[in-house]
Symmetry: C2
Subunit: 394 residues, 2 copies
């Protein structure tokens, strides 16, 4: 009889992926996914880049490449991390992955044995939690407030638990809450990390998508002991279809990631690395990101305005200064799952929040995405959702 590994008993299919199938019908106004707006993809320019790759380096593009990744792309990443995140590094400290998700998966496998403890923000990104679960760890959720992870709470946990193997955080425009850590929290966090010397996975998929205020330094840029592993991606600033992410880490840690990458998939797709690298050389990524920020920032405003106008008293939500998501908190006696079922009848979808808590127990929150619906759909969807919530509150 076929027997699966014990990890399989703990794995569910991603609730979000299953839900996205449900919400793929064209009549659905979906705030559920986290997809970039496809109308902003530079398809014509990318065709030119693809042509250039095949004409200039076709045989290289179709051949095996190194596990580390395409050299020109790694150079571009190094430049960008310097310019955008104030992270000083070099190509030898960059490993290309098939999207950040693969970086998350390798992170769990690098640090976690069964029953080891991993810390994350409460709530945290579902896709990361699922990746880590394949190693059967125990999760401890670090309490958060409107400014993200609370350093004092982190220190309490670290002082007590000696089997903490890694900490997973999203300091900028967090998924699912949209919250951002202020500068002083970043410093306080790093002080604690340096004291306990625990590796940190800093996941920064949305960092460049800021709509107001000043950019804040990445944790990696404050890292003096080589404890921070930085995960970046082109999914939100260019396109997710190439599955292009990267890991930036210090020597020994990165060489261990490299071993996992060799065993896990050999390398990221060569063509998927070379086409975007050529596009970045031929066109203007900064201008493209500026355009994305304009559109998404506007959609965020539309969603926030409509929430303000239509949502009933007793419901609160976050006011993200960047990224793709905001987080709605219903009164504690309400269940987001119930609202979800009713909303779906009205052709509106979001992601109920309970799955973002690895240890469960929170049922009154949900996540809303504002990046991939046009204004009128956002207004229509939020208004319909407000009616559903009001009806449920009675």
């Amino acid at each position: 009889m076929v027997k699966y590994s014990s990890r399989m008993g703990k794995m569910e299919g991603s609730a979000i992926r299953e839900l996205l199938k449900l919400t793929a019908k064209p009549e659905i106004i979906s705030f559920a996914g986290g997809m970039p707006a496809p109308e902003l993809f530079p398809t014509e320019e990318m065709e030119k880049a693809a042509n250039a790759v095949m004409e200039e380096q076709g045989q290289i593009a179709m051949q095996y490449s190194t596990t580390e990744g395409y050299p020109r792309l790694r150079e571009q990443i190094v430049e960008r991390m310097d310019k955008k995140n104030n992270i000083k590094t070099d190509v030898d400290h960059i490993l290309i992955t098939s999207g950040s998700q693969q970086g998350l998966d390798y992170s769990g496998r690098l640090f976690l044995d069964k029953d080891d403890i991993i810390l994350c923000e409460s709530p945290s990104y579902l896709g990361a939690l699922n990746a880590f679960k394949t190693n059967e760890p125990k999760f401890i959720e670090v309490p958060t407030d409107e400014n993200g992870l609370i350093p004092e709470e982190l220190e309490k946990i670290l002082a007590k638990e000696d089997r903490v193997k890694m900490i997973y955080v999203i300091p900028d425009f967090q998924n699912p809450t949209g919250r951002t850590w202020p500068l002083e929290r970043r410093h306080a966090f790093m002080d604690i990390i340096n004291k306990y010397e625990i590796p940190v996975i800093e996941d920064n998929p949305y960092g460049e998508l800021r709509y107001e205020g000043d950019y804040l330094p990445a944790l990696k840029s404050l890292d003096t002991k080589g404890l921070v592993v930085y995960l970046g991606t082109f999914s939100k600033i260019l396109a997710p279809g190439y599955r292009l992410g990267w890991i930036c880490a210090d020597d020994e840690i990165l060489s261990n990631y490299n071993k996992l990458a060799q065993a896990g998939a050999l390398q990221a797709s060569t063509i998927s690395q070379m086409e975007p690298a050529k596009w970045i050389d031929m066109f203007d990524l900064d201008a493209h990101v500026a355009e994305i920020r304009k559109v998404y920032g506007h959609r965020r405003d539309v969603m926030l305005d409509t929430l303000e106008k239509t949502f009933p008293e007793g419901v609160t939500w976050t006011h993200p200064v960047g990224g793709l998501f905001l987080w709605v908190m219903l009164p504690e006696n309400m269940k987001a799952q119930d609202v979800y079922m009713k909303a779906l009848e009205k052709n509106v979808a979001f992601v109920p929040g309970d799955t973002f808590f690895p240890n469960g127990g929170v049922f009154n929150c949900f996540r809303m995405n504002y990046s991939c619906m046009p204004d009128e759909k956002i207004i229509e969807g939020v208004t319909a959702l407000a009616d559903v919530i009001k009806a449920e509150m009675k």
Copy 2:
């Protein structure tokens, strides 16, 4: 202090990948890699396919897609498995992976807990062994002869060991030996598998590259109990740079692979799936494979001829009827590693065979690839290698 997971203590970087770096110098005649011949890549046609994808479906190509994979590509795979392997299946039983390597990685994670037993041919493909090692299993090597795995030996092991969780095999043109199981062995193997009901990973990257004799049915085509997981790939029949592989398995097993794929990388690159799918629709994969078979078959002949003419008595080698590799056995008192170091001084490279034995202990064999060197280099390299071996034998 940073502490890694216990699996990291068992992982080495792939000897082959490290070695390929050493042998990347242009003056080296390398029989070490397993790379397809890049001069056969249809780069001009692929540029046309890439254009068509971006013009017709650019936004889809740059967006997230499903974990299962691009529907048209899965249809093409189903047709091809029917035509080439006599495997009757449908798109619901196909999951696209980032190369077969990812399928191997997911396979280990699906079935193996720490200290579980996995069976493989002795010797077996290093990349697979490395993938499985991340789960810290115990390997038992099933003895083989010139016709591949010996069914009676397999049965002896299964009768004795009750913690066998999976069996990994390459019945066609095996890596590293180039050996192929005859039909009666395939039936005998499946009889034993059906009796013990152990899942089988059938890895078939080279199956279409047969240079003589008749195609033999895949184990999956003989599978009546849904125990065989079939791994296919476009790396050797089209190009490896797209990292395109697939898993074909029965319902429950495939749904579990899907969970691992969601957690591991979400999906394979959308663009890397759509460009080859479009190429297959626009051009002629069968004609392309015929061309590859002609070239590689000829190179195999050149290598076999030169081995026959130059290698000293006491050295034997396999005569593969397909695939990319042959296997050389030196006298038992010789070490392939010593020959390797001397050969490298003469600018000739191959892969010493010890790493293909998960439990080690065999040092007198090595693997040679004949697919990516032109005739004159094969003759020159084999002749130089013969001289090195003769000198070492003295």
